[in-house]
């Protein structure tokens, strides 16, 4: 990534490329630190989207910062939402997901000149000097999630798993395939069905999809959902299915319960970035790629795994981290 100092004379080059904004964390120098967070989803979904704001909130509180959060921002109003934040004199704008990347043009506008930008990306957002990109490879975490599921299924002697998600869109299709491939790393003959409920938030429909899968003997179920995650998982719990979390650590949750926490939550990445920001080390114009098996996140955690299972999973993840396993190739090989 090329470093260019468009944000003013006071910017300085950082070690890993990119530019560190002067005065970090109070970039705009108004004596307060304000973080603005935009999320495309329901920020009370007890899952993926909520975690993003919760992490920011917790960290900011500990530093005495202010956090302005806004959920359910449609992609079409991302731009104006970002402008509104700039008017509020935020020091950083953090986008909850790459769906909101349409807000990025605001970063070049006068209004947002003194603002840091944190943007999650899945390789579909172009790097610009004004923003910090944060990305992971969803194939990695979904493959490992599948692997973990496979381990648990193997222990119980089961072979049938189900994936329930919303719209039939590219990212859901890809996630389903990687998860399936992961299961088949352990159980080459495993059967995996995918149901598109059509809506990440229609709980009744998500539940019916789960019910249909359960009645077909599915014993592990991944509710890759938004607002309807809990309703779907609760139903799966009644059938004692193996369940996974879509992004956050919920091993301690009792209602519903999960067997595997798949942690690819943008909140975790974001918390790490905020720490750097507080220390004045967060560089714009650079990209941070989060590696499974290398970085603390993303990762997959068995809630009640046996020592052997945990060891196998850790080994699998680290071979992804060391590139011994190429997730893309594995998905191609086993995901169809």
């Amino acid at each position: 990534p090329k470093a260019s100092a468009t944000t003013g004379t006071s910017a300085s080059a950082a070690a890993g490329g990119g530019t560190i904004l002067s005065g970090e964390p109070d970039v705009n120098g108004d004596g307060k630190v304000v973080i603005g967070v935009l999320s495309p989803g329901d920020i009370n979904d007890k899952g993926y989207y909520e975690s993003f704001v919760d992490e920011a909130d917790a960290f900011a509180k500990s530093k005495g910062w202010t956090v302005i959060k806004r959920g359910s921002v449609p992609a079409t109003s991302a731009l104006s939402a970002a402008r509104a934040l700039c008017q509020q004199k935020v020091d950083m704008i953090a986008l909850g997901a790459s769906e909101l990347s349409d807000a990025i043009p605001a970063s070049t506008e006068q209004l947002c000149a003194k603002t840091a930008w944190y943007v999650p990306s899945s390789a579909n957002v172009a790097q610009t000097p004004q923003i910090m990109l944060s990305s992971d490879n969803p194939n990695q975490s979904m493959l490992a999630a599948g692997y973990a599921t496979g381990l648990l299924m193997q222990a119980k002697g089961q072979t049938k798993a189900g994936f329930v998600t919303g719209q039939q869109a590219d990212f859901t299709i890809a996630a389903a395939k990687a998860w399936k491939a992961g299961i088949r790393e352990v159980l080459p003959k495993a059967q995996v069905v995918t149901t598109y409920a059509g809506d990440l938030n229609d709980s009744a429909k998500a539940k019916e999809a789960v019910q249909a899968q359960m009645s077909q003997g599915v014993k592990a179920m991944y509710p890759y959902l938004g607002g309807s995650t809990d309703a779907a998982t609760a139903l799966a719990n009644t059938g004692k299915l193996i369940t996974l979390t879509p992004g956050t650590d919920r091993c301690s949750s009792t209602s519903p319960t999960f067997d595997v926490s798949v942690l690819f939550s943008p909140g975790d990445y974001f918390a790490a970035a905020l720490k750097q920001f507080a220390a004045g080390k967060l560089a714009m114009g650079a990209e941070k790629v989060w590696q499974l098996g290398v970085d603390p996140y993303p990762t997959v955690k068995l809630c009640k795994g046996t020592a052997t299972e945990n060891k196998k999973l850790a080994a699998f993840m680290s071979s992804i981290g060391t590139k011994k396993i190429d997730p893309a190739a594995e998905v191609k090989r086993l995901g169809n």
């Binding site: 302005i68 991302a78 509104a84 579909n124």
Partner: protein, 386 residues
């Protein structure tokens, strides 16, 4: 002539609300009540009403940037509203603008992304195609009405949901309008960004205040239609059709064709609004399932509050624009932006209800044989709707 047309429309308005101070006073009281209720809601849920009001103001009217955003929202709202005025005049109640906006944006996006023609031509083609598509979509309802007597309210409503799935299908289907894949990246449920040539630029830039081309399109449409409705033979016939279709037919008006055309025109303006959403910086310049963003529903409400007067729709659209941009800013202060939907709905009721109620009370008191004026859009769903 413009000014006189304007004056005559305004006088029609005050006539139809049977103006006088009771209606004005009641409206004022209702607006205050609506704002009071909203404040109460904020306070009860732990927010600060004064801060919220300040935020609403700041985001929508304080400064040139704020005004820029407000105007960006107002333009498509005004376009939808102006179209609604036309169909309502003809006595046809179209409530499918949301779907017509979507179909317009869909067709516009297709043209903008698929045709290789130079910039300005592409923009014009995008806008025109979107208008035609919105019009055609509405015309389907009109054909169903003519052939099989299908209720226009019902069919325009149902067609909205079909339009939404059509767009969802298009942006999830690679050979249609789904965005192209870069390397291994996942693609989102949206089209590619339309080329710069098809973007509506700012037709004026007063340091920070940018007046987008869409604003000019919308205002010109409002003025031209106000003039046409008030003065032209077409406007005369529409009015006749809306107020008494039998007499209109007797007088030689092709009622079916004229009513159907009015519905199509209304759809066309909604489609054009869809294109403005697509090509102006209000959104992301891509086709996405959420691109209509309730502009269709809100535009219809603008027309209703403006009592189907295109010129009055200008300030009302501006007010709705203020609510949208202010709401966006309000959300940036931490108050969930859904609050703005609540405020907006309460305000619509506050504007719409009191004149009707005052009129009704007056009629009851007078006991006169004054059937409510059929021209009153808020009271009488005209014959065509049933």
């Amino acid at each position: 002539m413009n000014v006189r047309a304007a004056l005559s429309s305004v006088s029609v308005w005050s006539g139809s609300v049977r103006s006088g101070w009771p209606a004005v006073a009641a409206t004022t009281a209702a607006v205050v009540a609506a704002l009071g209720l909203s404040s109460l809601l904020i306070a009860v849920t732990g927010g600060s009403p004064t801060a919220s009001v300040r935020a609403l103001y700041q985001g929508s009217m304080a400064g040139q940037t704020a005004w820029t955003t407000t105007l960006l929202y107002a333009a498509p709202l005004l376009l939808v509203a102006v179209g609604s005025c036309v169909s309502s005049r003809a006595g046809v109640f179209n409530i499918g603008q949301e779907g017509q906006v979507l179909v317009g944006a869909l067709a516009g996006a297709w043209v903008a992304l698929r045709l290789a023609v130079p910039g300005p031509v592409l923009l014009v083609l995008t806008l025109v195609t979107a208008g035609l598509a919105g019009g055609a979509w509405a015309a389907l309802s009109s054909l169903m009405h003519r052939w099989r007597d299908v209720n226009v309210v019902v069919s325009t409503l149902l067609m909205t949901f079909i339009a939404a799935q059509l767009v969802a299908y298009a942006v999830n289907t690679p050979w249609l309008l789904q965005e192209s894949r870069v390397g291994n990246a996942t693609v989102s449920s949206a089209s590619n960004q339309i080329p710069a040539g098809a973007l509506l630029g700012s037709a004026g830039s007063y340091p920070g205040l940018q007046v987008n081309g869409g604003v000019f399109v919308a205002v010109i449409a409002a003025v031209v239609l106000a003039l046409a409705l008030a003065r032209s033979r077409w406007g005369f016939r529409l009015k006749m059709l809306g107020l008494n279709p039998r007499t209109a037919q007797h007088a030689g008006v092709r009622t079916g064709a004229l009513g159907g055309a009015a519905l199509a025109v209304s759809g066309a303006f909604a489609g054009l609004a869809g294109a403005v959403l697509l090509t102006s910086p209000v959104g992301t310049n891509r086709l996405e399932p959420g691109i209509s963003d309730n502009i269709g529903w809100d535009g219809l409400l603008v027309a209703l509050v403006a009592r189907n007067q295109p010129l009055l729709a200008i300030p009302v659209a501006l007010l709705f624009g203020v609510l949208r941009s202010g709401g966006s800013f309000l959300a940036a202060t931490g108050v969930p932006s859904f609050l703005v939907d609540v405020v907006k709905s309460l305000l619509v009721l506050a504007f719409v209800a009191p004149p009707v109620i005052v009129g009704m009370v007056r009629r009851r008191r007078a006991g006169a044989l004054t059937a409510p004026a059929a021209s009153d859009p808020l009271r009488v769903p005209q014959e065509a709707t049933v």
